[in-house]
């Protein structure tokens, strides 16, 4: 029996209140009242806390202080990335909002998140995150096997407080889920990604949320009404409510480019009713692509999963599409390569890390220059996201 329980009649409630009020009192004394004029110890502490989310062990702090004093703050930061909490806490909470439509961080660990964590740990080139046949699972004991039909393996690992850094092992979606290797597309085709964005709807959600999460833009900011609407599907009315101005001034701005790219997912669905599994039907377009066909009968009828990037012309060239890729293809994998090959993808990953570590968006020329430097290092150095965490933490360790 807990001692605290025994004490309940005598003190705990009052003690708790007192403690809470004391906490508030101490809180008021700290923070802004304490200027961030840092010394190597403070810098080391901040680097560690920002990367790992926890305080450094004393010995580690000492080593980091030495590194910083010796002019090698990056080594100190890299030391911080070895803390298990970097994976179990910071990375998990960094990635979890990408894996659900509500963008909530309060969602169970799933294969999408675990795969990103594993890729970061192993320095897998992050530009394959949308195209690789890759999956990470935990080899900790006592976990249910990975299943295409449920998330139990990952949810249990989280409940058990499994050390992800120590236990994640790489495998493939084709091996774990039976998905053809050519049909895998990184995190998009993980069970977590599929159950969130291939379920119901028209699969446009997968495209939109991939843009939000990996190119850091929703569709509205990059609307371009001048793109040809020849591949906008039949379910999009060209005269919503009897007013075609709405389509020509708004709807077309997203659909003209989104529909020809979301066509890459034409063979995917997620059965959220019975099997709870991803459905992949090569050669057969999912019915969801053909619904509401009378909304505009003269619209595009999806024949296959070929896709085309219409943003390679027009103002959205600024997203920086790779000149070494053709800008069209078939299936989710090549679309994932197209998206991850853009400069916007690299910029987005770096900017997300910067914000997660520095607690702010780039706000001045120095910040933007740092982002630019890190993007160059990211793209030129094998797309190692862990490195970006370390570099960001050093940049934001304080003066």
């Amino acid at each position: 029996m807990r001692i605290a329980s025994k004490l309940k009649p005598a003190l705990p409630r009052r003690a708790a209140r007192a403690a809470a009020s004391a906490s508030c009192a101490v809180l008021l004394l700290a923070g802004p009242a304490t200027p961030a004029f840092a010394d190597p110890t403070s810098q080391a502490q901040r680097i560690y806390e920002r990367i790992a989310g926890v305080d450094p062990p004393d010995a580690t702090l000492t080593t980091m202080v030495a590194d910083i004093t010796g002019g090698n703050a990056l080594a100190a930061a890299e030391l911080a990335t070895s803390d298990p909490s970097f994976y179990n806490v910071v990375l998990k909470n960094f990635v979890t909002p990408w894996t659900n439509r509500n963008q909530t961080v309060f969602a169970p660990l799933n294969d999408y998140t675990a795969t990103v964590i594993g890729m970061v740990r192993d320095d897998v080139a992050f530009n394959t995150v949308l195209s690789a046949d890759i999956l990470y699972k935990s080899n900790a004991s006592g976990l249910p096997a990975v299943s295409a039909a449920n998330n139990n393996h990952y949810a249990t690992a989280e409940q058990n407080g499994v050390d992800l850094k120590a236990t994640l092992v790489a495998t493939t979606q084709s091996a774990a889920y039976g998905l053809p290797s050519a049909a895998t597309a990184g995190v998009m085709t993980t069970r977590g990604g599929s159950s969130a964005f291939f379920i119901n709807g028209t699969n446009r959600a997968m495209f939109r949320f991939t843009l939000i999460n990996h190119l850091c833009t929703d569709l509205n900011p990059i609307m371009d009404i001048t793109r040809p609407p020849d591949r906008v599907r039949q379910d999009v009315s060209r005269s919503p409510g009897g007013d075609s101005r709405i389509f020509l001034n708004n709807c077309i701005g997203c659909h003209a480019a989104m529909d020809p790219m979301a066509q890459a997912f034409a063979y995917y669905n997620f059965d959220g009713v019975t099997t709870q599994e991803t459905l992949y039907t090569p050669g057969v377009v999912q019915a969801k692509y053909l619904i509401n066909s009378q909304n505009f009968n003269q619209g595009f009828i999806t024949p296959d999963d070929s896709w085309s990037n219409r943003w390679r012309q027009g103002p959205n060239q600024v997203l920086g599409w790779s000149a070494s890729l053709p800008g069209s293809g078939s299936g989710a994998k090549s679309l994932g390569q197209e998206l991850a090959g853009s400069s916007a993808f690299a910029q987005c990953q770096v900017q997300k890390v910067f914000q997660a570590v520095c607690f702010r968006a780039p706000q001045n020329q120095a910040d933007r220059a740092q982002i630019s430097t890190m993007v160059s290092g990211f793209t030129g150095g094998g797309y190692k996201l862990k490195q970006v965490f370390a570099e960001s933490a050093v940049y934001c360790m304080g003066p």
Partner: protein, 834 residues
Amino acid sequence: MTREHRMNGFALSSRPLRHIEQAAALAALALLGACTSSGPATTASPVTAAPTVQAYTGPAPENADVQAFKISLWQNIEAPTMCGGCHHAGGQSPQFARSDDINLAYEAANTVANLTNPSQSEMVLKVGGGHNCWLASPQACADTLTVWIQNWAGSTAVGGTQIKLVAPPSQTVGPSKTFPATSAAFAADIWAPVLVPWCSRCHSDNAQTPQAPYFASANPDEAYAEAQSKINLDDPAQSRFVIRLATEFHHCWTSSCAADAAIMQAAITKFANGIPTTQIDPSLVVSKELSLYQGTVASGQNRYDNALIALYQFKTGSGSIAYDTSGVLPELDLTLSGNVTWVGGWGINIAPGGKAQGSTEASQKLASLIQSTGEFSLEAWVAPNNVTQKNADIVSYSGGDATRNATLSQQLQQYEAEVRSNTTNENGDPPLLTAAANNSAQASLQHVVLTYDPVNGRKLYVNGVFTGDVDKSGGGSLAAWDNTFALVIGSEVSSDHPWAGVMRMLAIHDRALTAAQVQQNFSAGVGEKYYLLFDVSSLVNVPQSYIMLTASELDSYSYLFTRPTFINLDPTQKPSGIPIAGVRIGLNGAEVGVGQAYIPLSSTVTAANYSPVSGQILSTVGTAIAQQKGPASDQIFLTFEKIGSKSHTYASPPPPTPPVPTNSANPDYGARTFDQLLYTMSNITGVPITDSNVASTFASIQQSLPSTPTIDAFSASNQQAVAQLAIEFCSELVNSPTLSAKFFPGLNFAQPAGTYFSSQANVNLVINPLLSNAQIVDSHGVQIATQPTVAAVTTELNALIGQLSAGQNGAGRTAAVTTAACAAVLGSAAIVLH
């Protein structure tokens, strides 16, 4: 005879019987009128009253076709108030309305009627052109006459015969003018000097009796939008504003319509002269140009209309009457009131407060005809404005909010049908609703049909397909229908239950359409279609070569172009090897910026794919292109990146420079989030996160802990949750002899608190481990600069411990005081902020 047999018997001879039935109904109405001498006198309108049917005493019809002519057409037009006023025996030729000999009338009628394609009958074209129409709208007369000839022709009128494409006039794309974006010049030149003084008493939304379109609105922007379709910038004399005054004598404000028209024309000319002309880029590869109305009419889509009793095609485009052109008399014309405007390409737009309602007298024909068959269909082409409207009555034949014969309404994304019968109540309830999961109602143009028959009751069809929703009330008798109700569109007769949307057609049948008939009418579509032939002969060096687009008015604002097709009007030609790529649509001298669906088009006309009859289709998709000056004025043309040996290279503009984000300065510190707090406190205390009490507390408060490091988002409730978690960890720490011995070396929890903590040395056994484990000081005891000062923390903890322990020597008090001190540190900014 069973009911089914009777129905079949009726179906076999539906057309003649149908008119007998109508005549009987009219006779019943006449009797009703004769018997109501005690009621208020009813003044028959010359526009809507059925013509007097005189007893025919001449020779009998020589054959069935003459008989069909007699009952379908002749008896509708032989009255002196109709064609019989002139085209009678001894009157003006042709004497197709003569009443002395039906066979001679039949012979004369054959010279002006086209039984294969009734709408193209000379009689129809003549009346449609304004020749002695008995209604205010020549279009309505033409449509009604078409129905009568269609009924006469019966199955011989197939309508959908092979369309004969006619080469349009050859017009080179020339300079043109387009309307300026702002209304300033319009307001100065036309609106203020002419429209406001002379037109605003009707054509303004705040007029006493508002009459759409509101081109004389008090708001010049609204007026400008409405007026553009009435102005011809390239030829002001052809402006609708001018023609309406000069030749149609519409409400001239002086005694001289010619003078008023001249004033209007001068104002429009001044406005037009101020607009620069747009010159076509000479480097473009362009076709010839033409307007929508210069296309070949793609008429002749077959509808099933054998049981039609009321029809609204909304072709008039102006005025306040929607004409019933079913040809079944009396016409049940609808009066538009409130927020109702005409829609381009036929239709009306109903906004809240608007409705179109028929008179109760004319509406009687619905009850009479439908009650005699016991079944009916309401068929409508509608585009709901939104899918958020509830209790929105689209079409209603009713007497009030709670009493009706039949209503078709919208409930969010469901359609609803209420029909009064002996299996439902007087409000037609319980209603039949389409399944919510099907989301049948969409904010797009839809074909919606409600059928009722005595066996199945109500059935709803959307876009030609039965929704599958079964009427649990079943079929019944319509004997309880009330013939004093009125037909209304867009709301209840009381103006309650408003529906917002566009209605492009409404047909009422006194039969339940079969699924095949519904599908047939859905396939026939709605609105006028044209085949636009864009001459590209000079571009491909093959005479009579055209790119043909099927075009229509999608709504008031756009054209719909579909199925670009290469075709040569010379059937002996066999074009081949003609590449066509990058097709763009141009209007009024410039390529359109939005909606260019044929830019990606790349095809080659080949002998194998080309048919002399149908040409070679280049694309199956359609696209909406915004109108500029309206269908009468917009000059449409095509341009090509490549056609034949001609080509034009479109330069791709360089990408714009990415904008530089301007984020305001933010603090560079933040709060630890929920998991970070959990792991941090675990690391400090040594209590594992899997500890059952910690896990339980964390699960219950997880979402009350900070979810984001943003300090601006940190709230009091966050701090409360942090305190709870800190207390839980510290409680588990202190309650664990192993952990507490390691964390607080030398601290004796068995000592009475009051006595024990009176010694600062003992107090420091609590404070010092907290300072080091929470890394307020480093492992050498040195203050970490960014943490709260040791002095401040120590002062707070001393005060807390002193307050909690003073005079408290009971058992367990030392542990409790230590727990509180521990929680104060763990829940403080030293941990929460970083």
